[in-house]
């Protein structure tokens, strides 16, 4: 990335307190014997986000990426592990406690249609978080209007209802709601997946602009590596609740060191027929197994049933994350992973 604040914070991330720190997060759904025996939805996930940094959380459905977002926001209590915001442990804090202490953690959800209450005006929706922060009356309304303008919407939209806006405009409103309290960290849970291509580009550009202008830190949850690559500095690749690979987004995108990252990257089609034909040939030659064909072993690497490189050790031993050529990959055979 070439943007100034991002570059600066990436450097200082090691010395400064991270904006968001996630350590050994485990989330299990349900209770009872059955739930305890099933693999957890999130299995010992750790990563940091530096102030002003964007970390992309990538994975397919069932990877647990949205669950991590919910755990960070306090919508899903973690089974174990810690979540720290600016060094303060917020893991066990109730949502009500959070509202007073950590007003600078906010969220933008995927579905722009159900994320706005259709019975309330845009103004009411935007003023709600402000009122809880103690900003009231005309001042709150003024902030709401300014918030709308900052996401490229007219200030008089405060008097209208969500049904009067298109999907892209609603997503702008959702972003305005997240930013109206000047948070430092925003969880973006698939904020553009429900949008058409041209609208998606608008919203991605808007997010990039806001990040650069305000020095926001984003936890950017997405299933599309291309989108993550555009907006993030670092990326975390998840598979079945475990981190497969993490590192600077360019390194992970161009030279992935985990077979799953390779499979994911190779499967994303590019809009150039000749290049896509070459990628397809390479992917088919690599010999990845069919998705969901067999259940992985409980002790080893979850990607074993689909992995062309898998050996006995992969079945018995869960590989730890280790540094391999600029990225951290959880693979026993990271050195042997073929180039894209």
């Amino acid at each position: 990335m070439t943007t100034a604040p991002a570059g600066a914070t990436a450097l200082s991330a090691t010395v400064r307190v991270p904006a968001l720190e996630i350590r050994d997060l485990v989330v299990r759904y349900g209770s009872g014997r059955k739930a305890r025996q099933a693999p957890p939805a999130i299995d010992r996930v750790s990563f940091d986000i530096a102030p002003g940094e964007t970390v992309g959380l990538v994975g397919e459905s069932g990877s647990g990426k949205s669950t991590i977002g919910k755990a960070v926001l306090g919508l899903q209590p973690p089974t174990s592990g810690t979540v720290k915001l600016h060094g303060q442990d917020i893991t066990a804090m109730s949502l009500k406690q959070r509202s007073r202490l950590v007003a600078d953690l906010r969220v933008v959800f995927q579905d722009p249609y159900s994320s706005l209450n259709p019975a309330r005006t845009i103004g009411q929706t935007l003023v709600e978080p402000l009122r809880l922060m103690g900003v009231k009356g005309p001042e709150a309304l003024q902030k709401a209007r300014a918030g709308l303008e900052s996401v490229g919407l007219p200030a008089d939209a405060v008097d209208r209802y969500p049904s009067q806006f298109s999907g892209g405009q609603r997503q702008r409103i959702a972003i305005a709601r997240a930013l109206v309290c000047d948070p430092k960290v925003v969880v973006l849970d698939e904020p553009v997946s429900a949008l058409d291509l041209s609208t998606q580009a608008q919203v991605l550009n808007l997010l990039a602009d806001l990040r650069d202008q305000r020095g926001l830190a984003f936890l950017f949850i997405a299933h599309d590596l291309g989108v993550v690559r555009f907006l993030s500095q670092r990326t975390v690749v998840l598979y079945r609740g475990q981190v497969m690979e993490t590192g600077p987004v360019e390194a992970v995108s161009r030279a992935p060191r985990h077979p799953y990252t390779v499979a994911l990257t190779a499967a994303a089609p590019v809009p150039r027929p000749a290049e896509q034909a070459a990628r397809r040939a390479a992917r088919e030659a690599a010999g990845f197994g069919t998705a969901g064909a067999a259940a992985p072993s409980a002790t080893g690497c979850p990607f074993v049933p689909r992995c062309p490189l898998a050996t006995d050790v992969c079945v018995t031993e869960r590989p730890p994350l280790r540094l391999v050529e600029g990225t951290e990959a959880a693979c026993h055979h990271a050195e042997r992973v073929p180039a894209l």
Binding site: L75, L95, A119, P129, A157, Y161, A201
Partner: protein, 672 residues
Amino acid sequence: MSVLPLDAADEVATEPVPPARRRRGLPGFLRRPGGVFGAAWLTFVIVASLTASLWRPFEPGQQDTANRLALPSAEHWLGTDPLGRDLLSRIFSAGSLPLLSSALMLVVAFGIGLPLALIAAERGRRVERVISRVTEVFLALPATILLLALIGVIGNRLYPVMAVLGVLISAAVYRVLLGVAQSVRQRLYVDAARVNGLGSLRVNLVHVLPSMATVVAVQAAQLFGIGLLIVAGLAFLGFGPGEPEPSWGFMIQDASGYIYTSPWLMVPTGLVLALTVVAANELADALAGKAAAARGTGRRRRPLRRAVAAAAVPAGAPADPAAVLEVRDLTVSVDDGPDLVTGVSFSLRKGEVLGLVGESGCGKTMTARSLMGLLPDGVSVTGGSIRWRGRELAGLSEAEIDRVRGREIAMISQEPMVALDPMFSIATQLVGPIRRFRGVGRSEAKRIAAELLRNVGIVDAQRVLKSYPHQLSGGMAQRVCIALALTGEPELLVADEPTTALDVTVQAEILSLLRALVRDTGLSVVIVSHDLGVVADICDSVAVMYAGEVVEAGTAAAVLDEPAHPYTMALLGANPHVPEGEPVPERLASIAGTVPPPGSWPTGCRFATRCRFVQEKCTVPFPVLPAHGEGSVLCTRVDELSREHAVWEPEHAGDEIASPLAPPAPVAGVSS
């Protein structure tokens, strides 16, 4: 006095209506005749009953011995009873007790059921289970008989009895409202409010309850009717206010004794009671919007004017002799409404894969569906021709096109998980069409089914055959859908966003499967997609659609590598995928605004309002120009743009914030 199932709630839209819309006129339920009748009659009965002592012509106990069992007259409007008492006065004097005690029952039932439902929906599974178990027990208690037992113990005291009934019924109220509360709580705006730190009580009051208001109203109206029937039933059995106090139930019981001599006595009381219950139920239906459902499906009715066009293939249209499918000037319209697709033309050869690509609302799905005559209700082909292997498909009757469907043209859809019948096993769903299409016996059909499943890459075909759709993953379900589409050995496959709902690695597998099928069987495919990557992967040729028309067409390589139309350029620029060896762009190219909805397309170029290269001449109609060899482009400036090497540049950093958009336009509901 049966306790009716609370059925209306299943169909109630729980989406709260924005107040602005409400204020604009009458509330929705008052626009339906049932709702008007219900509200009017209930208001009348309630007012007339509560004020009966002020206006009634006779005291309810006053006997007119000369006029026993009289028919209606000027003096006694509704006639008299066996003791010569005035029926009108008695009916309305009796009204307030059932009305008020039913209201009491409602207050108790909702006072218990609603908070429990909100708590259970909020506190999660463990709390919900405990409450639900208890309510299940309550639901299984025989309410009527328990009420009689209660009366046997405490005597004929109607208000406590109805309050106890309210407690029993609260279990049913809880059950219905729990489902609604849970679905409302799943809406993201509830989560967003919680992240904002809104307290539990306020989340429920501000965000959850308003969305449940309609269901609560429907339930209340229905239960009110039930309450009235129960009070009347109790009085009928003699558990009402004793003589000489009037009560509806006892008056009917009284009348039943005179049915031989004076059948009229049955009518006034019965009618008032029945009308009041009908009114409550009609009000409930109107609130639930159920009258709309009664419009009838009529889904098989075909508008006559659809049988147009056909024969006249426009002169000069280069009929491709090798084409199996030839679509010319296809127009699809909402009946008595705007056009959704206009003048779409394309052709397809054997073994060719054509992509229809564009954003939502561009008409690509409508175009694909019209190939099979599967347009939604109220939408039809109103012009042009669809020539399939020399035969005209536009204007065929439902029976005629049924012979084409499955046998010659098959379809796979966007949502594989719901495209299969959830009630039948995969084997049953495959065997039926195989027997129908191939005329084989059951065991042979089963063998073919297993073979088809293996052909679409399912290894454990036998296990999948025994499975039901909900036991399959999305990718597996789409493979089964493809196998199903292949049962009739079709020559054309229409695939409507076949991989949109799937993960990217599964998408790659499905696309590989489709490509193998095309290679091995010579299948032709029309694939609808919004993803240019998918088009680049599988399509030989592509038609880019915008606002109901094809703006650029040609081979996939030509259109994607050297786009001629600004819209295609913009779509490619908005795609975040980075070509190999190029740096990640700082910003993406974007298109201001949104696709204009059908009916508000600009004249001339429909993209003109959003195009960066727009000029005066773009706003007047112009013809389609040839491009990319056999392809076409719909841009009057295409040559100038090509000379200037025009590029749809990415935005600059900060542009999005610096330039507020045009005021938002209302969005129409029509989408493809």
